[in-house]
């Protein structure tokens, strides 16, 4: 732009009367990943303030937790975050096992790790496809859903379900591996090995994609800390917090893998962390498949599960961050308080601060890179 034209533009804006515009994004907007309403105050192309409004899918999960017995709740926990069902089940079972001091057989722990890491891969695949689509690249979605189908077939062979599994139990898992599962899973891993490179070629090296992601929505470490952001979003801001390594639960100490971090803290960094994490999850699954020990898949748990009076807080590293369950027992068959700490709640809470002053077109890119699931926030 020549200086002459730009100075005329400046003159015109100076004399023009401008006013702020309120824009409702959602609750039925394709890029809100569920029913989320975003109230944006806009000054031209700039966001002055962003106020998320949610609760459209509130089902009262915590209240229901007080009316169902411990084993009954497991099927419901699948529906907290339907793209990370195994992590919800696992977190709930861990808390209940802590309360009742139940030991889990090693074989069951291995099975839990295998299905959960497969789940992490599928969740990141959906996110990758949706992220590309948010920015106008439709092709990656068709690729990632193809791969996801293969994993869902594995889940279906394992427990008959593709989305909401009801697979884990307090004290173990409900079913052993079906015949041929290990071979099929290994075949998938062999196929999947080269896929992150394909995604790289489709998206990561695309100059338009990089231009829209780099230095967009930069989250400094202290902002992430103040809002208790966890998971890939935090690791994209340079903090190596991954419960699987920082405070290993279950059999995670058995496996060798890297915690991926990026120092930049922008949308591109969060994107790179997740793509790299898919490779690490594949490495964990390969090690676990090779090392499954023989033995029981369930420990002896009384038919009526009555943990002693007390409370337990258990947390797992889900694909979106730290998923915690806080259960309080009064000695009966039902908990008196069932609190669910969801990672997306904190990851969304940072948004109003993150969106201040950005271009309205970047809102979609930032929202996509944060990877939150609205039904999980609403519970």
């Amino acid at each position: 732009m020549s200086t002459e034209i730009s100075s005329i533009g400046a003159l015109e804006t100076a004399s023009m009367n401008t006013e702020e515009v309120t824009l409702n994004m959602g609750p039925q907007h394709p890029s809100t990943h569920g029913a989320l309403r975003l109230i944006l105050r806009l000054d031209g192309e700039r966001v002055v303030s962003a106020q998320p409004d949610f609760g459209y899918v509130h089902r009262g999960m915590e209240k229901m937790g007080e009316t169902l017995t411990y084993p009954q709740y497991i099927f419901l926990s699948d529906r907290i975050d339907y793209l990370a069902s195994f992590f919800n089940e696992w977190g709930y079972c861990l808390a209940a096992e802590k309360l009742g001091q139940v030991e889990v057989p090693r074989r069951a722990d291995y099975l839990r790790v295998i299905v959960s890491e497969l789940m992490r891969v599928t969740s990141h695949l959906i996110w990758l496809g949706a992220m590309g689509m948010d920015l106008g690249a439709f092709t990656p979605l068709t690729y990632t859903f193809r791969e996801r189908e293969m994993v869902l077939d594995l889940f279906e062979a394992l427990c008959g379900q593709r989305m909401t599994f009801n697979y884990m139990r307090i004290g173990g898992v409900s079913r052993d591996l079906p015949a041929g599962f290990v071979d099929k899973a290994k075949a998938f891993l062999k196929y999947f090995e080269k896929m992150p490179d394909v995604y790289d070629a489709l998206l990561s090296k695309n100059p338009i994609f990089i231009a829209r992601m780099k230095n967009v929505g930069t989250m400094p470490t202290d902002m992430a800390r103040s809002f208790a952001v966890t998971g890939p979003n935090l690791r994209g801001s340079g903090t190596a917090l991954d419960l699987r390594q920082s405070e290993p639960y279950s059999v995670y100490p058995d496996f060798k893998f890297q915690v991926i971090t990026r120092p930049e803290g922008d949308s591109l960094a969060r994107y790179q962390v997740r793509v790299e994490e898919m490779r690490q999850s594949a490495a964990i699954i390969a090690q676990a498949l090779d090392g499954i020990p023989e033995g029981d898949i369930m420990s002896k748990v009384p038919r009526v599960f009555k943990p002693p009076k007390g409370e337990a807080y258990a947390r797992v590293e889900s694909c979106r961050g730290i998923q915690g369950f806080y259960l309080v027992s009064d000695g009966s068959t039902k908990p008196t308080r069932c609190r669910i700490r969801v990672p997306s709640f904190a990851n969304l809470a940072v948004m109003p601060t993150l969106l201040k002053g950005v271009h309205v077109a970047d809102v979609v890119a930032i929202m996509g890179s944060l990877d939150f699931i609205v039904p999980e926030i609403d519970r």
Binding site: F54, A228, L241, E247, V328, A349
Partner: protein, 155 residues
Amino acid sequence: MSTVSLESLRQAFPQAAVEEAGGFGPAVILTSVQELPAAVQRLQALKSQALDVCEDYTALEEGDNYILVLHLVASADVTARVTLKAPVAKATAEAPSLTPWYGIANWYEREVFDMYGIRFVGHPDLRRILLPEDWVGHPLRKDYSDDKLLKRPGA
């Protein structure tokens, strides 16, 4: 791997009850609700390990009180964590807001207000977060009832 030692917590909180916890975290600190902001400040400035992340903030009901429950962790070391509890009398149902110390406290307090009806004094924007604005009552209270609630047979 370092954790917060019980001794260091007892030194920092001579007045409050510091108990060793069984199921989670190394310790539970019981404080009065008026001293909650001071307790949080002291934990954030703890010499051995600053507990500067509010991982979870919720409440539960016990007898005549609601009890605020905070799960605090250190950003430098996640194994260092503490549970902070403060009882709030049901009659007053009022607590000081922790929004100056944690960004996330804004939304967590809105959720506790929504579900338990505890009013946080000093909160910049205290309104319901999950339920509709015209909702009557606070559902996680044990005495909550609603015409639409289904009675279980035999219950």
